[in-house]
């Protein structure tokens, strides 16, 4: 339970962090909140020569507005996102989901960027980020590039962030006025999601005009329930109509089987949680 020894650096700018990363090559590991990385180092699942702490890079912290987007710095803690009125107002689905991540202590150190790059399929930020069609700003020595959510999550613990690169921010398209709900199914309060469904919908005169739905822990990456999204459009926000549309929630998924439930159980959960999430999001 003691990590292998490593060198520690704490740069104060993205440029310096990238330089440190380039110098150390694949012997380096980036430290954000440490809420996943420190247990990993302690269990010796990874033994980097150098740990580059992003915690002193102020330009990576905070929430701001940029036209139609809410921009969240990669090093913004869960707690700071939770407290952000901008996020609550324009991307409430993220607020909902982050309120369910782990517990308050972990939310005070864990960061949105760290969670997204860690890309645990049971993590709670991926599905809402995917549903909200978030753009991921990735910075490397060659400059900045923006990756769509659909291309960001590549496999179990694999994202579009390459060697020598950092996730620097996410840009969340504003969903102002949309209803939202994150339905997380767990047995004890601060457990990882067995399954969760992230839903945000725009209701127009009692009818669902648009719907975006993300699934947590239904495969090796967060997934979009596109069949449900399409089926919901134009439907009245009633229990019957929503139930019918949500029957397709597990279509195209590949959920794991483990001690918390086999994959069939998870498929069933997805339909139930999708119905609950959509109805709550639609205010029905």
């Amino acid at each position: 339970m003691i990590p292998a020894s490593f060198d520690y650096v704490a740069p104060t700018s993205v440029a310096d962090a990238l330089a440190a990363l380039a110098e150390a090559g694949d012997d380096a590991k980036v430290l954000a909140g440490g809420q996943s990385l420190l247990p990993i180092l302690r269990m010796r699942l990874n033994a980097p020569e150098k740990v580059i702490d992003l915690g002193r890079i102020e330009e990576l912290k905070g929430v701001s507005e940029d036209g139609d987007h809410v921009v969240i710095g990669a090093m913004t803690t869960y707690a700071d996102v939770l407290a952000s009125d901008l996020v609550r107002q324009h991307a409430g689905l993220l607020t909902d989901a982050i309120a369910e991540v782990a517990d308050p202590q972990i939310r005070h150190r864990g960061t949105v960027g760290g969670a997204l790059v860690h890309a645990d399929p049971a993590g709670d930020v991926g599905a809402p980020a995917l549903a909200l069609e978030t753009e991921f700003v990735i910075t490397g020595s060659g400059g900045e590039r923006t990756v769509a959510a659909a291309d960001f999550f590549q496999d179990l613990f694999e994202t579009a962030v390459g060697e020598g690169e950092l996730l620097t921010a996410i840009r969340v398209p504003k969903h102002t006025g949309w209803g939202h709900r994150y339905e997380k199914f767990v047995r004890v309060s601060h457990q990882w999601s067995i399954v969760a469904v992230a839903a945000t919908v725009r209701v127009d005169g009692g009818t669902i005009a648009e719907a975006r739905i993300g699934l947590t822990n239904m495969g090796s990456t967060p997934l979009r329930a596109t069949a449900v999204e399409q089926a919901l459009v134009g439907k009245a926000a009633t229990d019957e109509a929503v139930r019918e549309a949500c029957a397709a929630a597990a279509e195209g998924t590949n959920p794991p089987s483990d001690l918390n439930g086999d994959s069939d159980y998870r498929r069933h959960l997805a339909t139930v949680l999708a119905r609950r999430a959509v109805l709550a999001a639609a205010g029905a």
């Binding site: 339970m1 003691i2 990590p3 292998a4 020894s5 490593f6 060198d7 520690y8 704490a10 694949d26 012997d27 430290l31 440490g34 809420q35 420190l38 247990p39 990993i40 180092l41 302690r42 269990m43 010796r44 699942l45 990874n46 033994a47 980097p48 740990v51 702490d53 915690g55 002193r56 707690a79 939770l82 407290a83 609550r88 409430g92 607020t95 909902d96 309120a99 369910e100 782990a102 517990d103 308050p104 202590q105 972990i106 005070h108 150190r109 890309a119 179990l156 613990f157 694999e158 309060s189 601060h190």
Partner: protein, 216 residues
């Protein structure tokens, strides 16, 4: 898995120069103690200065040392407990800049210029904090192992409530947090109690919060 790639299963490297911890400040100077043995084969990190329970402290320990191990093994501040050592139980909860965090998932190296408060800074046997008195009054423990974490966590929690931090059990995330027992239990969910003294813990926090002016 991504993390298990290069360096997986690596042995401790042999090339490291043994380096002893140096500690100074606030009457907390400490020589070699039992805990030093585990970190002998390590590199040092630049000195870190922070405030511990109101007093300035400067330490230079290996980069992999957690705040929890610094407190317990180097400074003999053993009021903060170690349970799982991986973020799951909350017994190592302390306050950093007034926010509750886990000592086991915080590196000393991350603390530069921060303000750390442990249970030793909350109250003393001679002069317990009112919340500590409330725990005694309401039987908020059995074995007491989780208690310092519960108390530090509760102090942070009450401040979050006063600041309007949303929670998952509120009817709507934008709703002003309520003061229900359910709300308190949710907000304290990071602190496990193996003895199951939860009812007493909730009663103690509620009694303290009521007496301290209604924020709960």
């Amino acid at each position: 898995m991504r993390e298990a790639g290069k360096g997986a299963g690596a042995e401790p490297r042999e090339d490291d120069v043994p380096d002893l911890a140096t500690l100074s400040g606030a009457g907390l100077v400490s020589g070699l103690r039992k805990g030093d043995a585990v970190t002998v084969q390590s590199r040092t990190t630049p000195a870190v200065s922070f405030t511990l329970n109101g007093a300035p402290i400067e330490v230079a320990v290996e980069a992999g040392v957690s705040l929890l191990d610094l407190l317990r093994e180097r400074l003999d501040l053993t009021g903060t407990k170690k349970g799982c050592n991986q973020g799951a139980c909350g017994v190592c909860t302390v306050l950093v800049d007034g926010r509750r965090v886990l000592g086991c998932l915080t590196l000393v190296a991350q603390l530069d210029a921060r303000e750390v408060t442990t249970i030793e800074g909350v109250g003393t046997p001679e002069q317990p904090h009112d919340l500590q008195r409330a725990f005694i009054g309401a039987d908020g423990f059995q074995c007491g192992y989780c208690t310092s974490g519960q108390i530090c966590s509760a102090l942070g929690m009450l401040r979050e409530l006063a600041d309007g931090v949303p929670s998952a059990v509120a009817e709507h995330v934008a709703a002003q947090p309520g003061s229900s027992e359910l709300e308190m239990r949710e907000r304290m969910s990071g602190n496990l109690c193996r003895c199951g003294a939860y009812n007493g813990i909730v009663d103690a926090i509620a009694a303290y919060a009521d007496a301290a002016g209604g924020h709960r």
